[in-house]
Symmetry: C2
Subunit: 413 residues, 2 copies
């Protein structure tokens, strides 16, 4: 019974049948459907002899004891957004199951190998993503704030977790799970268009972007669209328009891997007969290098001030959220490159725009790396999310080879 990538694809379809509907995957964390998916996963792994345990944050672990307590971790998440895709998170878990089967079939591995199904990667119900992995990483700093969060039906986060055996107050006890962890590997769909545009099935992830997210508000003066001459206007929308166009130049000057997005503008009063008084812009900037990210932010702030001066406006910045870049392990990136080349001929290194559980594990100091498999049309978080079956099979093979190389590396110290 060797590695059978076609079985992974078949099991993903079985899971989608069991936990999805005509609108897509419905495995939202801390729901009945999610619990059913975890029960189904437990049955799938049972044959391998790996021991199941659930930690204090609700993460589901399957441990194949090896010749050493030092452990190689393979991670994924079976939870989805509502109306989600069949692959996001679940591919990672099911490919990991296949690797466990192959390893178990070959007898005791040189080191311990653990598959972890992280709890609530998506944060779909309570708006807090990476719940389980941030607890295990010890980076969960917002427990007081989480205590007061409620879902759309008014149910508090601690109550929902409690129904699934997790006490928010002790979630950080999951930190003990990473003791002995020597390496972490994760496979994920790209959720972007890069690999498809390069016509490559697989890529190696360099790390996750640092993110600076701000609301930028330009303020001018509402004035009648008919009676106010052009040279007497203080049009807040002009400031927003200039900034929208400028951020593309900032990304271009910063070089490959920089992204800047104005995801929305809210105009007030926003009526056809008035010059815009206030334009509130949502700005998202990302880069893999902290210094470059800081410089992008600085450039955008300076540009906004210049535009405000040109247009006789005021401008105000408010930080919504930020996170530093998290880089994956050089040695593991090398092993991942070899693995991809062996199964697909060509590898490609790319940063990850979205965050992943791997970033939390890397933050905790565990050498980590991710593989990306091509996403068709870059779509995810929708039932339209898809990847060619041939590419899914290559992805399982690449993860398997990466697991083998990582085990060898950890075993050899």
């Amino acid at each position: 019974m060797g590695l059978d990538p076609k079985r992974t694809v078949a099991e993903l379809r079985e899971l989608q049948q069991l936990t999805g509907d005509e609108n897509g995957a419905q495995r939202v964390a801390w729901t009945e459907t999610w619990a059913r998916a975890r029960e189904w996963l437990r049955e799938k792994v049972a044959g391998t002899g790996a021991e199941e345990s659930v930690d204090a944050a609700g993460n589901q672990w399957f441990t194949l004891r090896g010749g050493s307590d030092r452990a190689v971790l393979i991670g994924g998440h079976i939870d989805s957004v509502p109306n989600g895709g069949w692959l996001d998170g679940a591919l990672n878990v099911m490919a990991g199951v296949e690797v466990l089967r192959r390893l178990a079939d070959e007898g005791q591995p040189h080191v311990t190998v653990r598959l972890v199904n992280w709890a609530d990667e998506e944060g779909a119900r309570f708006g807090r993503s990476l719940f389980g992995s941030s607890a295990a990483a010890g980076s969960m700093a917002d427990q007081d704030e989480l205590r007061s969060r409620k879902d759309a039906n008014g149910i508090a986060l601690p109550d929902a977790l409690s129904e699934h055996g997790v006490q928010l107050d002790s979630a950080l006890d999951a930190r003990s799970e990473l003791r002995g962890a020597a390496a972490y590997v994760e496979l994920h769909i790209e959720q972007g268009p890069v690999l498809e545009s390069l016509d490559l099935p697989l890529g190696v992830v360099l790390g996750t972007f640092g993110v600076e997210r701000h609301q930028v508000a330009f303020r001018g003066q509402a004035a009648h669209a008919g009676s106010t001459p052009m040279d007497k206007r203080r049009d807040a929308l002009a400031g927003a328009a200039k900034l929208e166009l400028e951020i593309r130049g900032i990304a271009q000057r910063t070089g490959e891997g920089a992204v800047c997005t104005m995801g929305g503008v809210v105009t007030r009063p926003g009526i056809v007969t008035s010059v815009v008084e206030t334009a509130e812009c949502l700005l998202d900037q990302r880069h893999l290098e902290a210094a470059k990210l800081a410089s992008m932010l600085d450039e955008a702030k300076k540009a906004s001030q210049q535009f405000a001066q040109e247009e006789n406006l005021e401008v105000e910045w408010e930080r919504i959220w930020n996170i530093e870049p998290i880089l994956f392990d050089d040695a593991l990136i090398g092993l991942a490159d070899e693995s991809v080349k062996e199964v697909a001929g060509t590898s490609h290194r790319l940063p990850s725009g979205p965050l992943h559980d791997a970033a939390e594990v890397a933050r905790a100091g565990v050498p980590s790396v991710m593989l990306f498999v091509q996403s068709l049309r870059g779509l995810s978080h929708t039932k339209l999310e898809d990847t060619k079956e041939a590419h899914l099979e290559l992805a399982v093979q690449a993860l398997d080879r990466l697991a083998t190389k990582t085990i060898e590396r950890v075993a050899s110290g």
Copy 2:
């Protein structure tokens, strides 16, 4: 008892006391407060001997019979927006009352002089402005549509009108009122910043702008702000931003009197983590010359198509509303210029951005003209609307002189 401009100011304050509150004027058409204002106006005019009549559209007429049935009309509107200013519309009416008093005091005028208080200039309750004047002008073409309009409380327009003795079905009978009308004059606050910026109390209005109002929708592709490289984006907001900046150039190239406004942008999905898929822009373009307005519209359309091509977007135009420019009468503009010069030393000709009842009367073929008096800070439709008392008094004097000159002109054929 000659002309007493100070009395006009005092009466405007009395009206504000009677029909306003701490939030401003509340004389919304087809309400009790509006009816009270009309009753108050009736009492003010009673002493002049002018006969009152209310036409089929609810317009309130005060007729001073002259030596000829040919009539000079002086117009205004006593209705206001909710929380409105003390001068918009009411100044016109009360200055007209003062002119009627002076004329009546001097005996029978050479021609008939009529003061008209138009019904529902603002359209504040049902969203249809210039109700009474468009009925009298015969340009009210939307009666079927008006029949189904409801106010914020669900009361239908025909029912509200009926409470004030007006039947929508017969409103167009008001057309008979303009038979015999030889000229129409109207005074109004500028509602814009031009006269204040020139430090002039009074101006002569050349006509009302033609307006082209469109929704311009740019459509691209939503994509993850983190995982979509800059060169793979189809960002609808970029099209909107370019158009917002371009319309200023269009106005500038067209020359003085051209205005272009993007009054609002709605972005979808409008979230910080996604490139904008759809940007719906509200575009308002105005000019006093039809050919220049058409050319401004054409330029904006071509620019939008160019931007769509540059950004790999689709763009779609939908007309919301338009109206042709309406020019006032050359001879009356000359008389208005003389009148302003006599009372203020300097006159200035300017177009009107907002529409006015005078435009409807001019459309009906009656030679018309308007005077503007300076608005402080260009504000109107707010309780902050104001004009210096000295300027209000000059305005009453200028309207009086314009009435005299117009009567002489009409009397001499």
